[in-house]
């Protein structure tokens, strides 16, 4: 926003007002799930499988039951009595809650121990004796569809291999034709490994069932409480838990990033345990369980090919991907998109054609995959295109920035129809990259690199000019389990001019209590401090699909604006009544209606609110409130250009990110302070998988690691000082021109860093390095060692 319409007291769009939610967090008064205490509450802990694939021969619970404080042990057999041992995933696959006869991944839930306190149940799980018979495992997804591979999902009728689905987009023949007629074709297999969101708060719930009323209340670490309630009703409706009897409360959430979208078996077991025992049951997973069993992200093996002309014109793109989904397809993608929005992979460039296909397979690993702070599979897509563009630049010896500038979709081409079927809403890619280059001093860096290379030092410059696709989404295409991906806002203006607003989304740190209030302040002129924002309680909030994939501002934020406009329309009628004039004679400026040409003759929104309850016009309903369910006409397409500068220690292979310039364009900005904070966090969650984080398995399907000892979440020391800037290209179809931002930096940072590292080593003939770029990988590249 070049100019704020509202004053800083009102705190509408464009103001960096301080966050309202912070008052409780800085005092340690947040209310997270593990802070919830209910009278008579008992605890649950989970026995987990040491094997990746094994028959369960027996489960002996005697010793555990004899342990002081242990009240019950729940197994698959217990749940089977209620037909609750299986549950649907968000992708309409199925998943065990607790197993009857076999386990399909290491750390899978095998039994649950209920007892009086955390310590008793921790002892109890050590005493449950499970006899396993190991089965052959499928770890390598490329071998999953071999004829002799064991069938993991033999429980599914008609499932005769480990192949789950095939999905494709674009014109195969036309793309092949383009490849045949291009000067240059560059190919690379790019692997994006499994990673884990590792929010600092793990997952958990407190489930309380009132036998007298049949009412179930669940406090749960969920990013999507309404959808979860519906899923629970679908899973357990047959045992009397119908949707009107279920209340899901998502209290303060200690980070989500996509990991708190799915329904995990632990939640369902805790709910079953509370129904069976009639006691409130608390289950809080520990970090080991969180990393080893909860949904993962990524795990895409991408065979990428790009066709170009010698002059640098990009012509065609072809990507064939193998998606390792683990034991079940438990992704959280929209139903029609098993590979999410992966087909955004033509990125910021005007390709003539493209063809992309993805195959999903089962393996003996935990099910997934969810996002890791990214819209559905956009990170993978951006990584592929931004690496391949650099490889073309390297191949034809053209500067990576120049090549991008040459091929960007020009700003007058929007709305732009991509060869894979997307309609990009708006963009100005040249401006963003130019700003990033100017800010960081691109030409000087090139000179410095040249000098250093002559001295034998390794320095690299890497660019990523990404296009994101967020804000799912339009109901014609987007649903999860059939529920359309609209979102909602319900706003009530009280007689004294204050307001309460409720939403179908759920903040996990994004600052909704502040930013939604700012949208309302912008629209109605009510100071943001006078607007209370509530989310996360399915009994009170309007239905919505929740917060993930940078969708809150594009959907619920838009719903807020639209609900405000309904309120404003009614306010105008009341204002006309109060000012004894006609609506046509009124004009709006922030917070008040006045008679055209007579600015002194005006009523404020507060006057109007009071009148709505004390002096409303006859024939008009009393009160001042509105609800809006916003069904977006299109997705939004935030973008940006990032430049990373790295220095490499050739003796150890260590990579140091010396500078990182991030220019983001997320359309109109509600709160610049919050947007910048989100960008810092997102960049750090881009740095993490680029250099540190990875979940891997040995040949038996054992996770190598499984705590923060091996899963390397960067600290303040490894994290560079981020430099940020912005361009503003509003979304033409969004009511306030906003696009969403939380995930852009996580999507855009990894390729910038990889491109910089490869650039530093390019004179040695290095073309590509997979993430995470460990010191060893770099050291090997420099010392020309084959991969061990």
């Amino acid at each position: 926003m070049s100019k704020c319409k509202t004053s800083s007291e009102v705190g509408g769009m464009g103001h960096s007002v301080k966050r309202k939610e912070d008052a409780r967090f800085i005092r340690g008064q947040g209310n997270y799930v593990d802070d919830v205490v209910r009278p008579g509450m008992v605890f649950m802990d989970i026995v987990r499988s040491p094997y990746a694939h094994a028959k369960i021969k027996s489960i002996n619970t005697e010793k555990a039951l004899a342990h002081p404080g242990v009240a019950a042990v729940i197994t698959g057999e217990t749940l089977k009595e209620y037909n609750l041992h299986m549950m649907p995933t968000l992708m309409s696959d199925t998943q065990m809650v607790l197993p009857i006869d076999k386990v399909c991944y290491q750390s899978q839930e095998v039994a649950a121990v209920i007892g009086t306190d955390r310590y008793a149940v921790a002892d109890g799980i050590e005493l449950v004796e499970v006899e396993y018979e190991p089965l052959p495992v499928v770890v390598d997804p490329f071998k999953a569809t071999d004829p002799d591979a064991p069938i993991i999902r033999d429980d599914k009728e008609g499932q005769e291999s480990n192949h789950i689905w095939h999905w494709e987009e674009g014109d195969k023949e036309a793309t092949a034709e383009i490849f045949n007629n291009s000067d240059v074709v560059v190919k690379e297999r790019i692997y994006i490994p499994r990673i884990h969101v590792a929010s600092i708060e793990t997952c958990g719930c407190v489930s309380e069932f009132d036998k007298a009323t049949g009412q179930l209340t669940v406090w749960m670490t969920t990013q999507a409480p309404h959808a979860i309630r519906t899923v629970l009703a679908l899973v357990a409706g047959h045992v009397g838990l119908q949707e009107d009897k279920i209340r899901v409360i998502s209290p303060d959430i200690g980070g989500g990033f996509g990991g708190k979208v799915p329904v995990y078996p632990g939640y369902v077991i805790a709910i079953a345990a509370s129904v069976v025992t009639g006691l409130p049951v608390k289950w809080i997973e520990d970090r080991r369980e969180n990393l080893q069993a909860d949904s993962f992200a990524r795990d895409y093996h991408m065979d990428c090919e790009i066709a170009a002309d010698k002059d640098g014109t990009l012509n065609g793109l072809r990507i064939k991907t193998l998606a390792d989904n683990g034991y079940a397809d438990a992704a959280a993608n929209p139903s029609k998109y098993p590979a999410g929005m992966f087909s955004i992979c033509t990125g910021s460039y005007d390709f003539k054609n493209a063809f992309v296909e993805v195959d999903g397979v089962y393996t003996n690993k935990p099910p997934g995959g969810v996002a890791y702070r990214c819209s559905f599979r956009v990170t993978e897509a951006v990584h592929a295109i931004e690496r391949m563009v650099d490889m073309v630049a390297d191949e034809i010896m053209m500067d990576a920035a120049e090549l991008r500038m040459k091929n960007f979709i020009p700003k007058d081409a929007f709305p732009y129809h991509s060869p894979t079927g997307w309609e990009y809403d708006s963009g100005d890619y040249h401006a963003a990259l130019q700003l990033a280059m100017d800010n960081i001093g691109y030409d000087k860096l090139l000179e410095e690199q040249k000098e250093k290379r002559e001295r034998g030092e390794f320095m690299g410059i890497g660019i990523c000019s990404f296009t994101e696709v967020v804000g799912a989404g339009p109901s014609k295409d987007f649903d999860i389990l059939g529920i359309k991906m609209f979102d909602s806002s319900e706003i009530r203006i009280h007689p004294t001019g204050k307001a309460i607003a409720r939403f179908g989304t759920k903040s996990q740190g994004q600052g909704h209590e502040t930013t939604y209030a700012q949208i309302i302040a912008e629209e109605l002129g009510i100071p943001y401090t006078d607007v209370s924002v509530e989310e996360g309680d399915t009994d009170t909030a309007p239905y919505g699909l929740g917060t993930y994939a940078s969708r809150s501002t594009p959907t619920a934020g838009a719903a807020a604006a639209m609900a405000c406009r309904k309120i404003k329309a009614k306010a105008k009628k009341i204002a006309a009544h109060l000012l004894e004039t006609s609506e046509e004679d009124l004009e709006w400026e922030v917070g008040k209606f006045s008679v055209k040409g007579v600015p002194d003759k005006a009523v404020t929104i507060q006057d109007i609110a009071f009148a709505a309850y004390t002096n409303h016009p006859q024939g008009l309903e009393a009160g001042l409130e509105a609800t809006h369910y916003y069904d977006p006409p299109n997705l939004t397409f935030p973008f940006g250009s990032y430049i990373a500068v790295v220095d490499i220690d050739s003796g150890t292979g260590e990579v140091k990110v010396r500078r990182f310039m991030a220019v983001d364009d997320c359309g109109n900005i509600i709160n610049p302070m919050i947007v910048e904070g989100q960008i810092h966090g997102g960049l750090t969650q881009g740095l993490a998988p680029a250099l540190f984080e990875e979940i891997s398995y040995d040949e038996e399907g054992n996770m190598t690691g499984g705590s923060f000892m091996e899963y390397l979440v960067p600290t303040a020391v490894e994290t560079p000082h981020w430099e940020t800037d912005k361009t503003i290209t509003p979304s033409p179809h969004h009511p306030i021109g906003a696009k969403g931002v939380g995930e852009s930096p996580t999507v855009g940072a990894p390729p910038a860093i990889v491109n910089a590292v490869v650039d530093a080593l390019s004179h040695l003939g290095v073309k590509h390095i997979d993430i995470p770029i460990t010191p060893e990988k770099v050291w090997r590249a420099i010392h020309k060692k084959e991969v061990a």
Binding site: I26, G254, A716
Partner: protein
């Protein structure tokens, strides 16, 4: 099951209990004393969400036994606000040093230890000082600014007080 009687002075209030020898200090604080501002994030002494001051020194309370703190003083986030917010609390608010808020109490207690021992840390010293605390939301940059804010604020109030 061995039990001991302990008394720990938490934020100036003696808290007594009959506890299992193995009870972790963090559980005594959270479950027995209902001071839930101190969080648990990793169980393996990595994340620092459970950071409290033990006799003025920042420690990870998931790796201290409650019996080890018997007779000693513990400060938690709940004890930071006096007549006004502590400068660190103010700094985190002013500089947008938090998002989800889960790591915040531990970060603030770590930063308290840092500023008690090094009142004017530079950026590098702050980054090192909070490197026992993981944050997944902020990218640490605004946490650094928050600590700088508090450092400046404490300096100012001391120089005013000294005149």
């Amino acid at each position: 099951m061995a039990k001991k009687s302990i008394t720990i002075n938490i934020n100036g209030t003696p808290r007594s209990g009959e506890v299992e020898d193995r009870l972790l200090l963090v559980h005594f604080i959270r479950d027995d004393c209902a001071l839930t501002g101190t969080h648990i994030g990793c169980d393996s002494t990595h994340c620092g969400a459970c950071t409290v001051l033990l006799d003025g020194t920042a420690v990870k309370s998931c790796t201290v036994l409650a019996v080890q703190a018997d007779g000693r003083e513990v400060s938690t986030i709940e004890g930071m606000e006096g007549a006004a917010l502590h400068p660190l609390q103010e700094g985190f608010f002013e500089e947008h040093g938090l998002q989800c808020g889960f790591c915040t109490p531990g970060m603030i207690m770590s930063a308290k230890h840092l500023l008690d021992n090094n009142p004017k840390p530079n950026e590098e010293e702050i980054r090192c000082g909070i490197s026992g605390n993981l944050c997944r939301c902020t990218g640490y940059q605004n946490i650094v600014k928050s600590v700088q804010y508090a450092s400046n604020k404490i300096q100012e109030s001391e120089s005013v007080g000294g005149e």
